[in-house]
Amino acid sequence: MSAKKILIIDDDASVRFTLKRILTDAGYEVIDAVDGKKGMQRFDADVPDLVITDLIMPEQEGIETIIALKSARRVAPVVAISGGGRIDNKDLLHMAERLGADAVLHKPFGAAELIKIVKEKLAA
């Protein structure tokens, strides 16, 4: 059984690095993208088993990414992560959940918390 492939979409390199390290350590294959647009290309190219996406990014917002993934009837579960709204007080994570994100995580989160969620969603 080959390792599950996880796509991380986040514009913050330190976040990508941290998540990659945690998930690689946990035995996952990790690919990443710096924004939603590139994330979608990566998704189409590599077909990951799970997507972890930030919500606020310069090129394509996470919300759009989620909508795009879900509307394309992609089957991979999506975990939305966010450090909170920057521009307005819209509850982005809540919105993401409603739009079809399978799980949401408030930044910052611990490694154990992340792995637990990823395991749950991959098993589902």
Binding site: R21, I22, D25, I56, S82, G83, R86, N89, H106, P108
Partner: protein
């Protein structure tokens, strides 16, 4: 003729009275008889006197008939001892006189009352060799006459002396011989000076007109020369004692003796009429002045006579320039001279009024028109008081005045009054609309006038209130009186007064805010004569301003907090991203390190710091409402019951916690946030109370009396008895990182978080506090309508 009678008298007596004859014979020696006979012409001659002869031994020798009658004795007294027979003589002057005559042989006399006959006698005693001859006469009548005369003289003399009128008696030469006290007083001369008056020409009197009065014109001299009385002659003399002229009204009465044609004396009677004379002079001057004045006045003063035959005349009329009345017939139909000047329309009423006044003797008051020769019409007003003369005519005394100008003025005045009234009404309306009242104070009269609107502003009744200083100060708010007085007293002194805002208390207790401006009124020389003050009721304006200011401040606070929230949210986002590797990587690396090694411990500290930072960001997010409440339908009462049990354990025992939880409708709320909210509020209260004893009260009730209406909200309040907060603190309490606590004691986020939570729940929070008076937070949260249950 009478002597023979006397001679036969005793004989007759002898015949009639035997005793007497005998006694006479026995007691009258011849020698005595002879002596008596020889005394002819002296004592025994026929005389109205009574005669008595007495011997040396006082034996009565003889009594004539007259004596017998006078002393009511009988002839048997002859031969008797005088003293025994007439014992009433003893002790009288008679006895003394008789005895002296007898003893000293001199003639004596005495007068006295003799009681037995109730009469007065005058007696003479002459010694004779044989004894005494006593003659006496009844002088009762004479004496009475004398007394009466004396009294009369005294009375007249007294009258003369005490007359208030002056009396001078002149002799036939015109010289003064006597004068009474009044005369001395009036002319200011002594009797002696008056006696010498005719020698002194310097005291020449004057006549009524003040011209010198020559001697021959003086009343006493006129009376002397003509022999006829002079009456009511006015003359002036200088009274040297007073040093002024006195006016006398003199009557001179010549005294003519019988059968004489030239008076022997003149009585001059005079009274001091100076006062009357002066009055007359003044009256005459006054009359002259009155005439002068009335002649030049536009008032005609008249006497109008109406005879029974209907003839009108004007016995007196002063101002002929004004109107020239002519006499004529009252009947206006004859168009006679009387009516020539009266306006044709006014003639009939004029005549009718005159007749009515004459009939009833009622005061005549008329207004009529006169038409001048040039056709000008003048209005006259006339008044007259009628009376009936002895002849049965009617006489009016009255006046007429030209009122043409006055009528014109009145017309103008009426128009002006109407205009003024309209303007006053307009003014009152304008004051009412503007809510501006006014006061006017007249310094000269002390009068205060309030406009109607001012009464309304002060809530006072115009009838029951008299505006004055005391009443004004009574209406002022007690806290504003001193401030008002300082200005007001300056104003009363005429100093300029700055605008002032003050409060009044209406009789019903309502407080109104007034804005007042004052203008000092001055006369032409700049003297302050009064002031006008406008007073505007700005209560509503000030209330709106206060509310507006409150709104503005609230808005500013909301905006400020919102901006802070955005800022905090933005920071939180970045910090959260930053914290991802801090927490995530340290955890990952910790796994690969030996537990307990120095590197592992250091990394654990980094991780914990990251987690603390995460908590901090979480609270900022809560305040900035970026962190949505996880709402559920709860019973806040039950929730508070449990929460307060938990909180009680955190609070020192010196602080009492009271809970007053009334049943309230369910609300939608995040219990975790509410829990935090209660902890934050109670923590603040505990810090405010400090080490002292105190109370924290938590109240819950449906609806409140605060800004939000009761309906649709529940009211949660947390009250403490702590130190309270000042205004500056109150304005900042919700701002993040604002704290009054020490650096290590608080984050300054507690109330910011509470504020954020309440807002996130769609509620509102109010705070009431003052230094030393504790603090109360009122939180209003919307209830969850029953029909909204499905949506959640």
């Amino acid at each position: 003729m009478s002597r023979p009678k006397d001679c036969v008298g005793p004989k007759k007596k002898e015949r009639r009275d035997g005793c007497h004859a005998r006694t006479a014979e026995a007691a009258a020696p011849f020698a005595l008889q002879k002596k008596i006979s020889s005394m002819r012409g002296s004592y025994l001659r026929p005389s109205p006197d009574s005669i008595c002869l007495v011997n040396r031994d006082w034996t009565i020798n003889y009594l004539n008939e007259r004596a017998l009658t006078d002393v009511k004795s009988s002839h048997d007294a002859v031969g008797c001892n005088l003293w025994e027979r007439f014992p009433h003589l003893l002790g009288t002057d008679f006895e003394k006189a008789y005895r002296r005559a007898m003893d000293e042989r001199v003639s004596t006399s005495a007068e006295g009352y003799y009681e037995p006959v109730d009469a007065w006698f005058r007696a003479y005693a002459h010694p004779l060799p044989e004894g005494l001859v006593i003659s006496f006469r009844d002088v009762t009548v004479k004496r009475w006459r004398q007394t009466a005369l004396q009294e009369s003289e005294e009375r007249y003399h007294n009258l003369f002396k005490s007359l208030t009128q002056g009396v001078m008696v002149h002799d036939s030469t015109g010289a003064v011989v006597d004068a009474n006290l009044a005369a001395e007083r009036i002319v200011g001369l002594s009797l002696e000076q008056m006696r010498n008056l005719h020698k002194d020409d310097s005291r020449q009197p004057v006549d009524e007109q003040g011209a010198p009065m020559p001697r021959e014109k003086r009343p006493s001299i006129v009376a002397l020369t003509t022999g006829r009385p002079v009456e009511n002659c006015i003359m002036g003399v200088i009274n040297p004692r007073l040093g002024e002229r006195r006016w006398l009204n003199v009557h001179a009465i010549p005294i003519l003796r019988e059968n004489e044609t030239k008076p022997s004396q003149v009585y001059a009677l005079f009274a001091d009429v100076t006062a009357r004379k002066q009055t007359e002079i003044a009256l005459s001057a006054s009359e002259a002045r009155l005439n002068r004045i009335t002649r030049n006045l536009p008032i005609a003063v008249f006497e109008r006579l109406l005879t029974a035959e209907g003839k009108v005349s004007y016995p007196y009329y002063n101002a002929r320039e004004l109107v020239r009345p002519t006499d004529g017939d009252l009947d206006p139909r004859d168009g006679g001279s009387l009516w020539a000047q009266v306006h044709p329309e006014d003639r009939k009423p004029f005549a009718a009024q005159l007749r009515a006044s004459a009939e009833n003797l009622s005061v005549l008051s008329q207004e009529f028109r006169l038409v001048g020769e040039d056709g000008t019409v003048r209005w006259m007003h006339s008044k007259g008081v009628p009376r009936r003369t002895d002849r049965g005519d009617t006489l009016w005394e009255g006046f007429a005045i030209d009122v043409t100008e006055q009528n014109k003025t009145e017309e103008a005045l009426r128009a002006s009054e109407a205009k003024l009234r309209r303007s006053q009404e307009h003014f009152a309306r304008a004051q009412r609309v503007a809510g501006v009242g006014s006061t006017e104070i007249d310094f000269r009269t002390g009068e205060w006038i309030w406009s109607d609107e001012l009464y309304r502003i002060y809530g006072l009744d115009m009838d029951g209130f008299h505006p004055c200083e005391a009443a004004l100060f009574e209406a002022l708010h007690p806290d504003d009186r001193d401030r008002f007085r300082a200005d007001f007293e300056g104003g009363l002194r005429g100093e300029e007064v700055r605008p002032l805002e003050f409060r009044i208390v209406r009789p019903d207790g309502e407080i109104r805010t007034i804005y007042r401006e004052v203008e000092i009124l001055r006369d032409e020389v700049g003297q302050a004569i009064g002031l006008v003050a406008t007073q505007q009721d700005i209560t509503q304006l000030r209330r709106m301003e206060r509310e507006g200011e409150q709104l503005r401040q609230d808005l500013m606070r909301v905006q400020r907090l919102d901006a802070l929230g955005r800022l905090a949210g933005g920071i939180a986002h970045d910090v959260n991203n930053t914290l991802v590797p801090v927490i995530g990587l340290t955890e990952t690396m910790l796994k690969s390190l030996q537990p307990g090694s120095p590197d592992a411990e250091a990394l654990a500290i980094v991780r914990d710091a990251g987690i603390r930072a995460k908590g901090l960001v979480q609270r900022i997010l809560t305040f900035s409402r970026r962190d949505p409440p996880n709402r559920e339908r709860i019973d806040l009462g039950r929730f508070l019951c449990e929460t307060m049990r938990f909180i009680r354990a955190m609070v020192p025992t010196t602080i009492e916690i009271e809970t007053h939880l009334h049943p309230v409708p369910a609300i939608l709320a995040d219990t975790a946030q509410l829990h935090q909210l209660m902890i934050n509020l109670v923590t603040n209260s505990v810090d405010a109370i400090g080490a002292a004893k105190g109370t924290i009260a938590v109240r819950l009730s449906p609806g409140g009396t605060g800004t939000l209406a009761a309906e649709g909200y529940i009211w949660l309040s947390v009250t403490d008895t702590g130190v309270g907060m000042d205004k500056a603190t109150l304005e900042n309490i919700y701002e993040p990182f604002f704290t009054t606590k020490g650096v290590d004691e608080g984050t300054g986020l507690g109330l910011s978080v509470v504020y954020g939570m309440v807002c996130a729940h769609g509620g509102q929070i109010d705070v009431t506090s003052a230094p030393g008076n504790g603090t109360r937070f009122d939180i209003f949260l919307p209830i969850d309508p029953p029909n909204s249950r499905k949506g959640n």
